[in-house]
């Protein structure tokens, strides 16, 4: 049998504190003090928010530093300069591929980010992709209302970036050996200046495709509106080689 338990109060309680004869049904919780318990989800949300804040701050700094340079005017030297600034901020952040996708949506949906300029945003996202730990990155952007420009800029060898949805102008420019897959359409200047690697566009592509590309391959599942002045490399339209070849002329509209 158990030890002496006589010091404890009776099970049903014995006294009323309110003197009205009605028993306080919550009396046994008088001694309760609230401790906020953190469930694993809380911690995940908290850490995601910390990372998102860092990513956002990096983007804001890029905008501040590069505002004067009007990077969205897209001159190649300003793009390179802006990308270097983006690289500098991105290197200091510990993030995952999911955070990149969250940032893309945060650009559109949160008041915390003052500007969503498709050019700098695309450069910054490209830097995030290029410096991510993961070799393969999937960004589900089909719900995004704005197409992001410059996505896949300088995607290095060994990286595979898959975009679900459409991308904007200058997609995959300066590609450096990586593989860029766009499940939807892309606009003009796709793959311009790319050196090596592979770009796969599942649907249609705009004008100046592969302008000044120096190597690599562009595969288009749909139609190409116009080819740019290609230096080196291959372009396929619906599995048919269109560059090098006689069938297409630069910027032929059809």
């Amino acid at each position: 049998m158990k030890g002496n338990l006589s010091t404890k109060k009776g099970f049903t309680g014995t006294h009323d504190k309110d003197n009205r004869g009605i028993r306080n049904p919550f009396e046994e919780f008088d001694t309760f003090t609230f401790h906020k318990t953190q469930i694993p989800l809380d911690q995940i949300i908290e850490s995601t928010e910390v990372v998102m804040d860092q990513i956002r701050r990096g983007y804001e700094k890029l905008l501040e530093e590069e505002a004067k340079e009007l990077v969205w005017m897209v001159q190649y030297n300003t793009i390179i300069k802006a990308y270097e600034v983006a690289e500098k901020h991105v290197r200091e952040i510990d993030y995952s591929a999911e955070d990149i996708e969250d940032f893309c949506f945060a650009l559109e949906n949160t008041q915390k980010i003052p500007y969503f300029i498709p050019g700098p945003a695309g450069l910054y996202i490209s830097a995030l992709c290029n410096y991510a730990k993961e070799e393969e990155i999937l960004l589900k952007l089909s719900e995004l209302k704005t197409e992001i420009n410059l996505i896949g800029f300088r995607l290095p060898k060994g990286k595979r970036l898959v975009i679900e949805g459409d991308a904007g102008d200058f997609t995959g420019i300066g590609l450096e050996g990586g593989e860029l897959v766009v499940e939807g359409n892309t606009k003009n200047w796709t793959g311009a200046g790319m050196r090596s690697g592979k770009i796969l566009i599942k649907k249609n592509i705009g004008l100046h495709t592969g302008e000044w590309m120096m190597g690599g391959e562009i595969y288009v599942g749909g139609r190409i509106r116009g080819l740019g002045n290609i230096v080196e490399g291959k372009v396929f339209e619906r599995e048919k080689l269109v560059y090098p070849g006689k069938a297409r002329h630069p910027n032929l509209y059809y």
Binding site: M1, I22, F26, F29, T31, K36
Partner: protein, 434 residues
Amino acid sequence: MELYQFIHDHLYFNRPDLEIKGERFNSTILFSLLTGLKKGKELIIGEPGLGKTTSAEFVCSLIYQFPLGVIWGSEVSGHPEQTEEKIVGRPDLGKLNRGEEDVVWTNFSQIPTKIVDEINRLPETKQSMILDGVDRGNWEYLNEMIINEEYCLFATANYQDGGTNTIIAPLVDRFDVMVESRYPGANLSFLIGKSNRKDHILRHVKYEKELHRIFNAKTPYEKKIPLVEEVCNSFGEYIHETLGVKPLQKRDRQQIRLEMDDTDLDQDASAFTRMLLAELSFCDRYGQKRSLENCEEGCHYTGYLCHEIKNCASNRLPISIKQYGQALAWLLEDSEVDIEHVKSVIPYTLAHRTQWKDEIVSQRERSKRDDPFPIFLAKEAVKTVSQRYREQSEHLKDALAVGSKIFQGESLEPLEGDHPLYAEIKKDLSTQRS
């Protein structure tokens, strides 16, 4: 625990089917023991021949020191021709011839260990005959009454067949727990067939005759009790000497009950039980659950148990939970009834009392399970509420603590929350304020 182990090792062979705080138990033996210790009422269901009655007999014999022969002679078996005279008592015919009215009480009404075999073979109209006795230990016949100060009740029920009836709702509600005496598996079953001595080790012909004589004597019931206790103690000593296990004397049982009553529910056990009760009784639209009212289409509280059941939890449910929680905590030598204790006993206190909606039954009756369907559903319900409690426990306890402060006159607002318990707290406070 010594008695549990003895029954498990020598008398009732079955597999453990319940784990509490890392210890494995057979639910039939465990709940029968707790019923005997706590003066409870247990319904044992199962297929014929799977030890429903014998498990209860062994427990009764060891906790109350009655030889099996006396227990057998006091059992009531359910059949359509059963009468009040065979269950409760009959007129003393000799005295009646002399124009005097006197009652000869049955062994069943006098013995503290009451076993009703196959209760669902009693027609529904005759089940109400034993309602009062079952509930309060009051047995009335003609104008006389005896009151059992100490008693426990075990009733067995077969699954529905041609000869069974439904157990009426008020009688079902009076059972604290329901367990299944299940098939022990081919190997243990084979072992049971090999040993046929186990019925005899708890018998003693001399003491059986002596006890029958006392029960049949025409002395007042109150005067028989000490005499019965004396013989029982002698039988208890005999068992101790021959089997090495010590049955419980009356003073042991009283001491155990005192210690059990002194074991409080801790805050989590209390808050969890309140949370469950709120879900089993709450209706935003009609004030409370009622079995004749249906849930409103698109009700905000569709995610809670109130949306899955038809009836309202009775006041006997929390009593059973507390009693068996205390008994279990005592058995495990814990100083408080904690949430693990209540979570372990609740499915067995809830299974027979809950009427699930037809759609819930049809959704889940084919689910893979080890337990009989009502116990399975009750265990699933406890799992669901446990999940909610894990997420909300601190806020719920805070709401109850704030409720206490408001009750004592502090000027605070009751805490808001989605769970029905928040609404119940508000109701209590508004009643108190008005």
